[in-house]
Symmetry: C2
Subunit: 453 residues, 2 copies
C-alpha cells in the first residue's frame, strides 16, 4: 500500500516564521506616505496595528520566533497533511510526482488562520479589546473570527454587502465563532453613511469595507485593524506552510522541481514558496515557483510595477507593486480571493527580479481541473485552489511531452464546501472566460502614473 | 505545549473490521420475510446486494479482513485524528478529560465514506456497473458518489425532492464526484410515477426514494442498490473509527469511562462504540456507551422493541428493532441524519440487553452546545454531531457535581460547513423544542403490532 499522507508531529512544527526579506538580493522598496511621498514609519501605522506586527512588517531578521501561545492554537489543525496525489498522477499518466499541502483542514477551511491567529495574539498582547476588519467573500473574516474567539477578543467584520446578501452562510460562520458582522456600506461609519447618502442600494466593495473597518478601529484606542493578505507580516506568518512541506518532502525523500500556488494578494503563494525561494537564493537550489492568477485579473502578467494604493479608496500607504490600478474592477469570477488589483510588495519584487514566474489562467480550465481533482483525489477544491490544480495539469502534460521527470508541489489552499454555487454555475454552463486587453490596462492604470514619486 | 491531536500512521490502520455479533450474549433475531414471516436468506437479498456484503450481513466471524483496495482509498482521510478537547475542557472547568474522534476530515465531511468505499469495492468485485441509492439531506449520497468515482462505478442517487430543492449544494457535490442525481418522486420509476399521479407536487420522502432506488437497481442485472446505515454490514465497516480511537487513546495513556455518539440509524454510534463494547463483554471493561437521539424522534427511549419495516414504503424485510413505527414522521429538525424511525438491529439488541444506554435531547440544547464547541475548539459541528457534544457537557457537569474524574470519548461525526442554515435558524430564534407524548407513540405504533410473527 502506498503512503498517501505525510504528517508531522506537533512537536516537529516550525519554531520560527521565515522572513524572505533577509535573503532577497534587492530589498523591497519602502511604502510611501501618499501626502509626503516619503517612506512611512512605524508611527504612521501605530494607530491601526499593534507594534508587534509593525516590527515584523519592517524586520530584516531571517527567522522570527513563533510564540508558544500561537503554536498552541496552530495545533488545532497544524501541521497540515502533505498529500502525494496518487489518484491525480494515475489519471494524468505523466512522468511526474505530485504533492500537495492541504490547508483546507483549518477551522475556516483555508490557509487564512495561519496569520489570523498570529495577528490576534499580538493584538491581545498589547491590550487590544477588539479587532475590526473587512471581508469580501468571507474567508478572511471567518479566520479572524475563529482566532479572536480563541483569545477572547471581540471581532467586528464589515462584509461587502453583495456577498453579505449572496453568501449568508459565511456570515453565520462568523457569528458562530462570535463575531459581529455588518453589511458594508453601513450606517455605522461616516464613510458608510457618505456612500449610502449617494446610493442607498450600493452593493459595496472591498475598498469601502476597508474604509469602514479602519474608521471604526481608530475611533477607539482599545480597537485595532487587521488585514488578511498583501502586507509583509501576513506573508511572513504563512511561511509555516512551506517549512512544513519541506520537512514532509524530506521524509518522502523528495525535493520539488516546481512549486505552484494561486496568487490573489500573495499570502498563500508566499506561504508555500518563500522557504523554497530562500533555498534557491542561499543554497543554489533551482525550484521554479509559479504564481497562478486569473486571466480576468492579471496584474502579474499584464500589470505594471508601480507605486499604488493597496485599497480602492486610497487610505493605505503607496505600495511598490505589480498592479492594474486600485480602481480596476475585476470581473465577478467565483475565485473571489484572487480578485485583487495588486500583488504584495514582496511577491512583486521577486517577480521583478525573475525569482518567481507568473501565469494567468481562464476560469473554465480551472473548474475543469477542479472536477478532475475531486474525482481523482476525493477533495472538492475552492475556486481559488483550482487555479493551482490547472497549472499542475499543464506542467504534467508538458513533462509528458518532453519525457522529463518532474516533482511538483502545490498549495491546496482551501476546500470548496462553501463554494458549491461556483461548481453549480460551471456545470450549468453559466460561466465564461474573460479576455483582458491592452485598452483595459490603459484605462485601469490611467491616473496611477500620477502617484509615482 | 500540550499535544492536541493524535495521529496514527497509515501503516497502523486497523486491518480488520470488528463484528460485534460474534461477542453478543444474545444474538440478534433474524430479519423476516414480510410475506412468509420466515427468516430471509441470502437469496432474498441477492437481487439488490452483492454476495460479498450479504456474507458480512450474516457473518458470525469476529474479525473480517479489510481488503487492500479499500485500505488504499481509506488513506485519503484515514486514520482520522483523535483530538484532546483542551479548549472545551478549559471552558467547562470540570474534572474530565475529553477526547473526540474527528470524522469530518473525510471527502464528504462525515463518517459515511467508511462504508461507502467498502460497499463500492464489493460491488466492483462482482462486476456491478452502477450503484443506485437514495439520500435525504445528502451526506450518504455524497459519500457514495465519492466512493463510486474512486472505483470507476456509475452512481445514481434519488434525493428526496424537498432536500433537492432546499439543499442544491449537496446535489452539486454529488455531481462534482460524477453521480447522477434525481429529485424523488421522479417519473423515472413506476413507484415515482404512481406518487406523482396522485400528487404532482409531492415533497417526497426517504421511503419513496428507497422504493425508486430499489426499483431502478433491480431493473438491470448490472446494477445494485446500497444503504448508508442500519444494516449489519454498514455498522461493521464503521468499526474502523473505534479501533483507531482505541490505539490513539493507548498512545495518550488513557481509556474511556464514557463513550458518546449520536444515533440515527446507528452506524456512527456503532463505529466508535462497538469495539469498546466488545472489550466490555470479553475483557471485563466497564465503559458506559451512550447513544444520543433527538427528543423529536425518540425510538430508543420511548419506542418499543418490535418487528418493523426498515423503510416507510414497506419494501424491506421486517427487522427486530426499537421503533416508532415505519409511518412515523419526525419533526423537520435540522439533524436530518437522526430523523429515522428505528434503530439498527444490532444497536437495538444491545440496548435491550442493557449493554448500551440511550438519552434523548432537545435541539436547542444541542445547538447551544455546538456554538460553545465552535468557539472553544474551532470546529463547527454538523447538527447531528451537536447531540453528542451536548451530552458530553451534561456528563462533565455531572462529574463536577460528583467530584469524580472521568475520561470521555465522543464521535465528532461530521462538520457543519454545509449546514449553516441550521445555525442561522438557531441564531434567529426560529427553532423550537419538540415534545413527544404517549399519544404520539400510540398513534405511531398503531398498525405495527399486526406485523409481529
Amino acid at each position: 500500500m502506498n503512503r498517501r499522507k505525510i504528517f508531522l508531529n506537533e512537536s516537529e512544527m516550525p519554531t520560527h516564521w521565515y522572513n524572505i526579506a533577509a535573503d532577497m538580493p534587492n530589498k523591497p522598496l519602502p511604502p510611501l506616505n501618499p501626502r509626503t511621498r516619503q517612506p512611512v514609519g512605524p508611527e504612521d501605522l501605530a494607530p491601526i496595528f499593534p507594534m508587534g506586527l509593525i516590527g515584523q512588517e519592517v524586520s530584516a531578521e531571517r527567522h522570527i520566533e513563533i510564540p508558544d501561545e500561537v503554536q498552541d492554537i496552530y495545533t488545532i489543525w497544524r501541521p497540515s497533511p502533505l498529500y502525494r496525489a496518487y489518484g491525480l498522477e494515475k489519471m494524468l499518466d505523466a512522468p511526474v510526482k505530485i504533492y500537495y499541502k492541504y490547508e483546507g483542514v483549518s477551522p475556516s477551511g483555508s490557509h487564512k488562520p495561519n496569520t489570523a491567529v498570529a495577528q490576534a495574539y499580538y493584538n491581545k498582547q498589547e491590550g487590544v479589546k477588539k479587532i475590526v476588519t473587512e471581508t469580501g467573500a468571507g474567508q478572511w473574516g471567518t479566520a479572524l473570527a475563529f482566532a479572536c474567539a480563541q483569545f477572547g477578543l471581540g471581532c467586528e467584520v464589515y462584509m461587502v454587502r453583495i456577498s453579505y446578501d449572496q453568501k449568508p452562510y459565511r456570515k453565520i460562520m462568523m457569528n458562530t465563532f462570535g463575531a459581529d458582522v455588518y453589511a458594508s456600506p453601513s450606517n455605522r461609519t461616516q464613510a458608510g453613511r457618505n456612500i449610502l447618502d449617494d446610493d442607498p442600494d450600493s452593493p459595496g466593495s472591498l475598498g469601502i469595507a476597508i474604509s469602514e473597518a479602519i474608521e471604526t478601529a481608530v475611533q477607539d484606542e482599545s480597537n485595532k485593524y487587521a488585514l488578511g493578505s498583501v502586507l509583509n507580516h501576513v506573508l511572513l506568518h504563512q511561511t509555516v506552510i512551506g517549512q512544513e512541506a519541506e520537512k514532509q518532502l524530506e521524509i518522502a525523500g523528495d525535493y520539488p522541481d516546481i512549486i505552484i500556488a494561486p496568487l490573489g494578494g500573495g499570502s498563500n503563494f508566499a506561504g508555500i514558496a518563500f522557504p523554497f525561494i530562500g533555498q534557491n537564493i542561499t543554497k543554489g537550489k533551482n525550484t521554479r515557483c509559479i504564481a497562478v492568477e486569473p486571466a480576468s485579473c492579471p496584474k502579474l502578467t499584464q500589470g505594471e510595477f508601480l507605486y499604488d494604493f493597496g485599497d480602492t479608496a486610497g487610505y493605505t500607504p503607496l505600495l511598490p507593486m505589480y498592479t492594474l490600478g486600485h480602481n480596476f474592477r475585476p470581473a465577478a469570477i467565483h475565485a473571489g480571493g484572487l480578485r485583487y488589483h495588486g500583488a504584495s510588495v514582496l511577491c512583486s519584487q521577486l517577480l521583478k527580479d525573475n525569482l518567481i514566474e507568473a501565469v494567468a489562467l481562464q476560469q473554465l480550465e480551472c473548474f475543469q481541473a477542479g472536477v478532475v481533482f475531486a474525482r481523482a483525489e476525493g477533495i472538492i477544491a475552492a475556486p481559488e485552489a483550482t487555479h493551482a490544480i490547472a497549472q499542475v495539469i499543464r506542467e504534467a502534460e508538458q513533462a509528458k511531452k518532453e519525457g522529463t521527470k518532474k516533482t511538483i508541489l502545490f498549495n491546496m489552499c482551501g476546500h470548496g464546501f462553501v463554494d458549491m454555487k461556483a461548481y453549480e454555475d460551471y456545470f450549468a454552463g453559466a460561466l465564461s472566460d474573460h479576455q483582458f486587453t491592452e485598452s483595459d490596462l490603459k484605462s485601469a492604470l490611467g491616473e496611477i502614473r500620477e502617484l509615482q514619486p
